[in-house]
Each structure stands twice: as structure tokens, then as C-alpha cells.
């Protein structure tokens, strides 16, 4: 039997107001794929951050290779051959692959016997060799910003391998990948295990665990619920353990009843700040009672498209028509009052003012109208009453009710606040961009049900998401965006998940 390479003994970590990890003990064997399963906020990332030296446990001990270690910095973790692929990549975007990988541990050669210089050729060769050994296809001389997300991830993996990491931590590695890319990544992970590495996989996607992992630890609200043998446990059981109760996977959805056209986008072209065309000649329509979903890999113009519809970005060509009115050049407020609601991708920088109270955020779209404002005086009582109503209706959890600073709320509740505000506007057209990103299963289901409910109420819904499962389970019509172009628009029932995935990668271009 393989020996334990890592052992957590009674590890506890507290943050203001929460116990992130509560008396956790388990061990990981050398050369296995060990999954860490739990909802957001269950404490997975905190636990791994302690192993990686970003936090120190308040109580308890961490043993690496049977030895008690105080991992007080990532450098210490690296010296113990522990490496981590973070959810948000840490790469210098205008450096090449090699430059990123060797950053901090550059191989030095001496020109003319004494002039020190980075031996880039040697590094290139070594990385080339590493990428061949582990099947991590990437060109060492390409510049990061020209690489796809999946390729950047491979660079992150190579970075660990170059540093001779033996224990590899993957933090939600599949969150931003297409189905085909996920297959490829899981293959890489298996390959790494076969070469003798120990893999720790942090995820909340059960299917992936089922596919690659041998054992799996389930965390719920900071507590270890149990260690499961993946092969003999059903996904249903895992899910129940993770959430703490049975959950309904399938979302009930009545057949769609399309009404009149609410939003019409024709030949829309949008340029970014560098005058590059990021949305190219896009046309589509959204009807009442329809969820029109746009699928695509991150950074293919989705956010720019949404911003142009909402009035946050300028349309260079083409028109946007809402309820028969041309709003291509209308002011944001004009669009909002006409009947546009928008749940933006960036909750913290666009959707909310974090240093405002929950109440102030909930009235952000209608503070200027009666009854919230009379003359130019805000009616605080009315605002509070309205906020309390939304807090109750949408089950927004906040420590001090309407007076809570939004910054102090959890991500899920922040998103609930935005969705509550936007849906309560009662607009005919609602746009959701990445509405469930980073949320736990309970919140995800609730939000998807809300979208479908709005559709059934005769609203036109535009859903832009990177999560293909979300699109497949909610959409009535699917459009696939690639490199700023809508490659394909199809009825959801007439296009398969794999087909959508192929369009997302630009592999398939014909209708």
C-alpha cells in the first residue's frame, strides 16, 4: 500500500465570523488522485491554501511525507514540492510561455565566461521536453496573451512541473473550459498520476470526480463529512453529502410559448478601447417567453455584446431595438426605464457598489423615481421598506438587513441582491451574464429556476454563459459566439452539447 504523503491532523482555521475549517483530519496517499468536494464556502480552498502556505492553521498540524511541517509561505510549499494551479491564472500576459515558467528560477549562463544572462534556449528545450513527456501541448515561445484559456492552464501546469512539484493542487480547473477541453485536461491529470505525481483536485463538479478521482473528501460548511471511495459511491450520494440534503438536479421546464419580438439586434459591431472589433456583425432576436442563450469560451466578445445592448459600450455599427424603439444610442437610464434589466458578469465592479448598504444597492435602479424620491429628497423609509420586501422575497441573507454593507456579504447573497433588483424592475427584457458563476448548487438551482419563471411570465430573457450545462438546461434557443461572431443559432432541442462545444472552439463553422 502506498504511504501517506500528506496528512491533516485536527486542522482548524477561523476567519472573522466563520469557522472555515473545523477540526479536519485526513490523509492523502502518494500517487493518487484525491478530490476535494464541497460547495462554495465549504472550506476547500482555505484548506488547500494552508497546504500551499497562504494561510496558517489556527489549530492542528500538517504532515508532509510523515514530517510535521510549518508551511508559512508558498516558497516553503514549493520547497516541499507542492505546486498549485489557481483558479485565476497567475501569468504575465505579455511574456512568453518560457519566460513565465522560469520566472524567479531562471537558468543562468555566462557569456564570454563571465557575463550573466538568462539561458532562454536551454529553458525552451527543457520545457519542450516536459510538455512532450506529459502530453501538455504548448509552444514555449508563444506569448501568453495570444493563448487560449486552456493553453494558459497548461502553462500553469508546466510551471509546477518545471519546479519539480510532486504534489499538484488543481483549484476548480474545469470552470472555464469547453467539454472537449475538459476531456483533454482530465487525460493530462491521469497521465500525471501515472508518472507518479500526487494530484489534489478541488471541484464541485461530481461528474469529473467520478471520472478521474480514486478517493474524495467531502466538506460541508467547514466540516469534513467523510472520505469516499469514488468507484463505489454514486454521484447522488456524493451530492447529498456535499449539500447536506437531497437535491433536485433536473430543472422543471414547461414548453416555451414564444410571443412578439422584444429585443432585436441587427448587424451589431462593437469595438473595444484599442479599436479592435470584438463583436462582429451580430444579429439575433429575443421573443417574449424565450430564453435565448449565447454560449462561448470566455473572451469571445460576450461581455462587449451585453454592454453594448445595455448602453455601457458604444455600438460602432448596427442597431439595437427594444420593444420597437431604436435604442442604439440611447442613454443607459432611458433603456432601463424602457424595460431593460441587466445582471452583469462583474458583480463587484459593475453590478454593485460594495461600500453602499444593501438598501442603497437594491434601489440603485429606481432611487430617482417616486415613491423613493420626492422632489430631490430620498425617502429613506420607502427605500427600506422596498429593500426589506426584496430581502424577504429573494431570501437574501445579510447580517444587519438593509443596513449591511454589501462588501461584507457572501458572493452568493451579493448575486441574489443583483438578481432581486433586476427582476423586481419588472422589465420586459432581462439579460443575465454568467449569473451562477462561482455560486453553490443551491443558489445555482434557485437562479436558474428564477430565469425560467421570468420566461414563463412572458419576459424575454438573454442568457450569456460560459457554463455549457447551464445553457443546455435553460435555453430555448442557443447561439454560439466565437471570436465576436455568432457562428450558429439553433433551437436548443436541435443541437447537441458536443456540437455547441465544437462551435465554441471555432472548429465547426458551417451551418
Amino acid at each position: 500500500m502506498a504511504k501517506n504523503i500528506i496528512e491533516f491532523r485536527n486542522v482548524t482555521k477561523r476567519f472573522p465570523g466563520v469557522v472555515a475549517n473545523d477540526n479536519i483530519s485526513f490523509s492523502i496517499k502518494e500517487g493518487e488522485i484525491f478530490a476535494l468536494l464541497g460547495e462554495n464556502g465549504a472550506g476547500k480552498s482555505t484548506l488547500m491554501s494552508m497546504l500551499f502556505g497562504l494561510y496558517q492553521p489556527d489549530e492542528g498540524e500538517i504532515y508532509v511525507r510523515g514530517k510535521l511541517e510549518h508551511i508559512d509561505s508558498p516558497a516553503k510549499a514549493a520547497s516541499l514540492d507542492i505546486g498549485m494551479v489557481h483558479q485565476h491564472f497567475k501569468l504575465v500576459s505579455n511574456y512568453t510561455v518560457t519566460e513565465n515558467i522560469i520566472l524567479g528560477i531562471e537558468p543562468i549562463k555566462r557569456n564570454l565566461g563571465f557575463l550573466p544572462a538568462v539561458d532562454i534556449n536551454k529553458a525552451n528545450a527543457k520545457i519542450e521536453e516536459l510538455s512532450k513527456t506529459y502530453g501538455l501541448e504548448v509552444k514555449p515561445t508563444s506569448v501568453i496573451k495570444n493563448l487560449k484559456v486552456s493553453e494558459q492552464q497548461r502553462v500553469e501546469i508546466l510551471k509546477m512541473l518545471y519546479r519539480q512539484a510532486e504534489i499538484l493542487i488543481f483549484d476548480e480547473p474545469t470552470a472555464v473550459l469547453t467539454p472537449q477541453e475538459i476531456d483533454y485536461l482530465l487525460e493530462i491529470i491521469r497521465n500525471l498520476r501515472d508518472k507518479g505525481k500526487t494530484i489534489i483536485l478541488i471541484t464541485h463538479k461530481l461528474e469529473e470526480i467520478k471520472r478521474v478521482a480514486e478517493r474524495c473528501a467531502v466538506l460541508n460548511r467547514g466540516r469534513l463529512m467523510g472520505i469516499l471511495d469514488v468507484a463505489t459511491t454514486s454521484t447522488k450520494e456524493m451530492a447529498r453529502m456535499m449539500v447536506g440534503h437531497d437535491i433536485n438536479w433536473e430543472i422543471e421546464k414547461k414548453p416555451a410559448k414564444f410571443g412578439e419580438t422584444v429585443l432585436r439586434v441587427s448587424n451589431l459591431t462593437v469595438e473595444n478601447e484599442e479599436k479592435l472589433k470584438v463583436v462582429k456583425n451580430v444579429s439575433f432576436e429575443v421573443h417574449r417567453g424565450e430564453i435565448f442563450a449565447i454560449a462561448g469560451v470566455a473572451g469571445n466578445g460576450q461581455v462587449d455584446l451585453a454592454d453594448a445592448i445595455a448602453g455601457l459600450a458604444k455600438a460602432t455599427e448596427g442597431t439595437v431595438t427594444l420593444l420597437g424603439k431604436d435604442i442604439t444610442h440611447a442613454h443607459v437610464r432611458e433603456r432601463n426605464t424602457l424595460g431593460l434589466s441587466y445582471v452583469p458578469e462583474d458583480r463587484h465592479n459593475v453590478g454593485l457598489i460594495l461600500d453602499f448598504t444593501l438598501t442603497d444597492n437594491l434601489v440603485m435602479k429606481n432611487y430617482f423615481k417616486p415613491p423613493f424620491c420626492k422632489g430631490s429628497i430620498l425617502q429613506k423609509q420607502q427605500c427600506y421598506a422596498y429593500a426589506n420586501q426584496l430581502i424577504e422575497r429573494f431570501d437574501i441573507r445579510a447580517a444587519n438587513g438593509g443596513d449591511t454593507l454589501v462588501r461584507s456579504m457572501s458572493g452568493g447573497n451579493q448575486q441574489k441582491a443583483i438578481i432581486a433588483r433586476e427582476i423586481s424592475e419588472n422589465s420586459d427584457f432581462i439579460m443575465f451574464v454568467q449569473p451562477t458563476r462561482g455560486l453553490d448548487i443551491g443558489a445555482i438551482t434557485a437562479i436558474r429556476e428564477k430565469m425560467i419563471e421570468e420566461r414563463d411570465n412572458g419576459k424575454a430573457v438573454l442568457l450569456i454563459s460560459l457554463d455549457l450545462d447551464e445553457i443546455m438546461s435553460c435555453a430555448d434557443t442557443i447561439g454560439v459566439i466565437y471570436n465576436g461572431e455568432l457562428l450558429r443559432i439553433a433551437e436548443a432541442s436541435k443541437i447537441s452539447k458536443n456540437e455547441v462545444g465544437e462551435y465554441m472552439m471555432g472548429v465547426k463553422t458551417d451551418g
Binding site: R14, P16, V332, L352, I353, D355, D360, I377, L378
Partner: protein
Amino acid sequence: MDKKNNKPKAFWLLRIFGGKWQFLTIPLLSILFSLIAISIIVLLIGKNPLTTLTSLLQGSGWLPKATYAAHKNMFTDFTEFLDAMTPMLFASLAVIVAFKAGLFNIGVSGQMLLAGFMATIFIGYSSLPSALAWPLVILVGIVMGAIVGGFTGFLKYRFNINEVVTSIMLNYIIQYVVSFFINTRYVDAVSRQSRAINPAARLTIVNFEANDLRFRIPLCFVVAILAAFLIYLLFSKSRQGYEIKAVGLNPKAAKYAGISVGKNILLGMTLSGALAGLAGVTYYLGYYNTIQPNTLASMGFDSIAVALLGNSHPLGAIFSSTLIVTLTKGSTYMSSIVGVRQEIASLITGMILLFSACRAYIKYKVDLKLSTSQAKGSERGKV
């Protein structure tokens, strides 16, 4: 109390600094720290810290002095203190309004100078009676300050030029242009400053006699206090205040909510300039009655510190300007009585600012301690 429970030793201390009076207790704590630090320094010089600190209060009219000159007593000292505090309060309000709009108005000094200069040459050198001159001085001050501030805001909103750069450059431009005109046209041959203004136009009544005492009466002190309350109401109750705050805290989200970002930047900066203009006229046509060429009032920069000390809150500014002006005003008396250098007062000011800059850290520590001890407490309760 059960000794074995997990509460930290000084739990009552946490209560004081972590509770809802935190906004008051933590600044007081930082003032206390700075007083301790300054006492140590005074002791090292070999003087008595207690007399040093009380002499500061005596010098600014909070405590009675041992002896007074003719026609003076503690009360006349106090009105003099209020006279000095008036422009400081306006100036710090100017900084606060800009902060709320997410802008840093470092050009308060320049705005003050231009407002003071224009009011001096148009009204101060006229022979208008007080009833006309006073409102006109104030009006000119507001308008000139608003123009300079508004121009800075316009450049920011139209061309996205950083307001710090603009206002520092405007400071220089105004300083040299105003000095040129003072030196060539309005200079007093003896004092080398601008000629003194007509007393009827001055916003401070000097030598107001009553009960054999001679008072200085700062006419605009009440206006300044009123302004603080109005600004407070603007930001807590009005639609406009909500919009300015939204733009200041997160312009992207403000735009998303349909708020016009440019308009509010312009508005915030104009309002800030107008308040700086009021500071200018109460300074150059109130506290003083002349303008010294080639210098910017240091008050314009001190007001930034005062605004921060007051937690960027309009009512907090009343307290912080009281404190800082007490120190500067009392420093002359302190140095003559105790025999320490006047600069010690600046040192105290510096210490207070230093310690109040640590406020966020203290708050963070206290909140952390408090919540972990509560978490432990509740855990214990469960088991």
C-alpha cells in the same frame, strides 16, 4: 466572570472599541496615543508635558490664562480661535465633498487664493457699505472657487485628465498670476503685501467692543457650521448626494445604474471649489485683510489632513478642525510660556495624523479579535 471561559482578558476593551461607538472611540484612542507619544518627547526635552498641553488649550481660549493683556480675556481668545477655524472648516469641507465624488482636490489653496484675490480687488478695495459688501464678498468667493474647481472637474470629465495634476498646476498658475498683479498694482510699499482692504468689507469684525473687552467676531463661523450640516444632509438625504457618492465609490456601477458620471464629477468638483472659495474669502478677507504674494496658504493642504482626521465626514470635520486649529492657534502661547519651540505644535499635529492613520489597522484588529472570540464563544456553547 468564569475565569476558564475563552474570552480574552480585555474583553471589555474590545466592547468599547468594537461596538457601535467605534467611530468615536477609535479616533479618541488615536488622539490619546499621540498625546502619550508627545508627552514622552516633551519629557525628553526636559519640559513638563502637562503644562505644555494645557498651555496649548490656554492659548486658543479653552482654558483661562494666568494673566491677560488689556481688553482681553479667555472669551476674546476663544472668538479669535473661531476666526481661525472658520476658513479651515470650509477648506476641509471642500476636500470632503471632492472625496465623496471620488476626487482628490489638492487645489484648495489655489482656489482659496483666486477667490480671495478677486474678492479683494472687486469688493475689498471698493467703498461699499458692509450690508452690500459682505454678501458680495461671499458671492465672489463662491463663484471664483466654483469656476476653478469646475474647470478641474470639466477637464477630468471631458478629457480624463487627472484632477490632481490639473489642480497642482492651477495652484502654480494662480499663485504666480495673482502675485504678478499684487506686486505690480496692489502692493503696499511698507508691508510688501497687498494693500489692506476696506474694513467694511471684512468678514471678521475686529475690535468689537463690549464690556471693556475687544472681540474679533467671525461673521461666517455660523455659515461654516451650517455648511457642514448642509453637506451632511446632501449626502445622507438627497438624490444628488446619492448620485455623487455612487460615482465616487464605483463609477462603472454608477454608469450601469444610469447615473451620468461626467455630470456628477463636474458637480462634485464645482461644489468643492465653491467651498474652497468660501475658505478663501474668510481667510484673506476675514482672518487676514491682506494677501501675501508668492505664497499659497498652507491651510489648503492642512485641510486634507483635517478632512481625513474627521473620517471624511462633514460633521467629523467640525471636530477635527477644532482640534487642529486649537493646536496651531495655541502654539504661540505655548512656546512663550513653556519655552519649547512653536514647531512642537506641528509635531503634535503630525503625531495625531500618524496615529489616526493607524485607525483602520486598529479597527481591523479589534474586529478580528471580537469576531474570533465570539466564534469561539459560540462553539463552546454548542459543545
